[in-house]
Amino acid sequence: MNVSIAHLLFLSFGVFCIGGAGFLMRRNALSLLICLELMLSAVNIAFVSFSRLHQNESGNLLYFLVITVAACESAVGLALILNFFRLKKNIRLDEATTLKG
């Protein structure tokens, strides 16, 4: 079967929607980080498929930048989750209510 750009874009959009739905519905901080990674992968699929469409390398270059930055973001996110866990003894977002009111 021949994979066209449209297929890849639908794949990207599907992954993006799964990640977005998870981000909005899950309440566990780690699942949230995983959903963010999923959405970033969707972006990467879009970049790489557009790079193939236009026959130039800029999209592939952006892919590497996105991956690197996503790693940095996860590192900071995990550090903050650890700190949150140390203070609260859980990582549920429902418990993050100190600032309400």
Binding site: L40, L53, V76, F84, T98
Partner: protein, 493 residues
């Protein structure tokens, strides 16, 4: 090839200077103990960079690194504002070093790391401002944001600070993803990543109606609205501002707005210029909503920092309008620049006064300010000046920056928007004046007058407050001075 790189690096010193300074402070931190040497290096380095930027204000536009960065006169001005804010925030953080309570003791052991995060964020800011390629735009925004996530969680033994950092990270990362998806569609529609190439492709091949570009515009507007905290994307802002350390709240309220509005200015009037019919109505609606709802929601707030968060939401609405007014050809740039300068100065001054008064163990309620005018007259007086400047009342600079925006709005035939903005400001005056009444007309004493204030032994907080008050007073009395300075800095005069 290599020589070109060397020449470009030398020209990009106002940008690379930030990173060099950050690495230098990192080295000092590794090699020595104590917090004063890194602090000293940071302050000296920032002053040096300010002088360098100030002397190069009119050095003309340059394309660097094969068009990845573009340094023009607006870059130097934005960068100068950013440098000034960084210096003020670093100075604001100093008195905290002498606090003795446990939260501060444990956190301030890592003060050099805080400085490094600040400087790397500043590097991100200058890359974001200078960006003229999708890759540098994205990298700049992320370098700025990741540093700020760390800064928000600086009081790491305190749950409020950690929670604010955590919320900011989640929302920030989500908006980054939206932003990136927008960039992916821009790239997909045009096949180029450089701003000028994208612009010429959109204009030449009549791509303006292409659905991919429409999706890209929608995603980018949402992402910028998240970063600038436009209503209805503002929900995280009050919590983040409330929990973050007060100097960092000032940083959030100023630096993020400078960087993101500069980037929005280059994106929307850069390569989306020919699509203005599509994005302008949406953008304007979001701005008007933030001015109106930001002010209305601020009326109900009980804690001081949340109130200021909502006030900053309404101000970012004004900034957004000023960005639209920079329309190349018919528009003017100086309302935007003047708004950034004055708003940043006033915000920094106000938050310095708050961090002087504040007692971190308790939430700072608006009611706590009761009767402050009798107990601490000077602090209350300066808070009053900044509050009036934020409200936009005539003898202060806050009035003329709003006036310039409204004037330009009417000149460009956006009369409905101008009326809505005026209504929003009038509603806003209610809660600003309430603070004044509490401070000067209340008979009772609120708890703020009993808290132990910061020991400001180096007079840094007083210096910032004093300079900010002068900036807002001079701007109100002689607005033409500001307009002339900005126009000459932008080489328009």
């Amino acid at each position: 090839m290599f020589e070109r790189l060397l020449v470009d690096s030398q020209m990009a010193l106002p940008i690379l200077g930030w990173a060099i300074l950050a690495i230098l402070v990192l080295m000092i931190k590794i090699c020595t103990r104590g917090v004063w040497l890194p602090l000293f290096a940071t302050v000296i380095g920032l002053i040096g960079l300010i002088f360098y930027s100030a002397t190069h204000l009119n050095s003309g536009a340059q394309d660097l690194f094969h068009g990845a960065l573009k340094m023009d006169s607006s870059f130097y001005l934005f960068n100068l504002i950013g440098l000034g804010i960084h210096l003020a925030v670093v100075l604001m953080l100093i008195p905290g070093l002498e606090r003795t309570s446990k939260i501060f003791k444990v956190s301030y052991e890592q003060f050099p790391e805080l400085l490094i995060c600040l400087l790397f964020s500043g590097f991100g800011l200058s890359v974001l401002i200078a960006a003229s390629d999708l890759s540098t735009l994205f990298l700049g925004l992320e370098t700025l944001s990741i540093g700020v996530y760390c800064l928000c969680g600086f009081y790491r033994t305190e749950i409020r600070s950690t929670e604010s950092a955590f919320k900011y990270l989640m929302i920030g990362a989500f908006s980054t993803v939206l932003f990136l998806y927008g960039l992916a569609f821009v790239y997909g529609a045009t096949g180029a990543t450089n701003y000028s190439q994208i612009q010429s492709i959109i204009e030449q091949s009549h791509l303006a109606h292409q659905p991919l570009l429409m999706i890209a515009v929608a995603f980018l507007i949402a992402a910028f609205a998240f970063k600038l905290a436009f209503v209805p994307f503002h929900l995280y802002v009050p919590d983040v501002y409330e929990g973050a350390p007060t100097p960092i709240t000032a940083y959030l309220a100023t630096v993020i707005k400078v960087g993101v509005i500069a980037a929005a200015f280059k994106v929307f009037w850069g390569f989306f210029g020919s699509l203005a019919d599509y994005w302008e109505p949406f953008w304007m609606t979001l701005c008007v909503l933030s001015i109106l709802l930001g002010n209305i929601l601020a009326l109900q707030q009980k804690t001081l920092k949340k109130l200021l968060a909502y006030s900053s939401i309404s101000h970012s609405g004004f900034l957004g309008l000023a960005m639209v007014l920079t329309h190349p050809g018919v528009g003017t740039t100086y309302p935007l620049m003047a708004y950034l300068v004055v708003y940043s100065a006033v915000t920094l001054g106000l938050f310095s006064s708050i961090s002087f008064l504040e007692n971190r163990e308790q939430v700072f309620l608006v009611e706590d300010l009761k009767g402050l005018g009798q107990k601490r007259f000077w602090t209350a007086l300066f808070i009053g000046i900044f509050i009036l400047a934020l409200a936009g009342l005539p003898p202060f600079a806050g009035f003329m920056i709003k006036f310039w925006i409204l004037e330009a709005l009417i000149e460009q035939h956006h009369i409905g928007v101008a009326i809505a903005a005026i209504c929003g400001s009038v509603i806003g005056a209610a809660y600003y004046l309430r603070i004044l009444m509490l401070m000067f007309m209340s008979e009772e004493q609120g708890s703020a007058s009993e808290w132990v204030v910061l020991k400001d032994r180096l007079y840094v907080l007083r210096l910032i407050v004093f300079l900010a008050a002068i900036l807002s007073l001079v701007g109100g009395m002689r607005p033409q001075l500001y307009a002339d300075w900005i126009l000459s800095a932008l080489a328009l005069k």
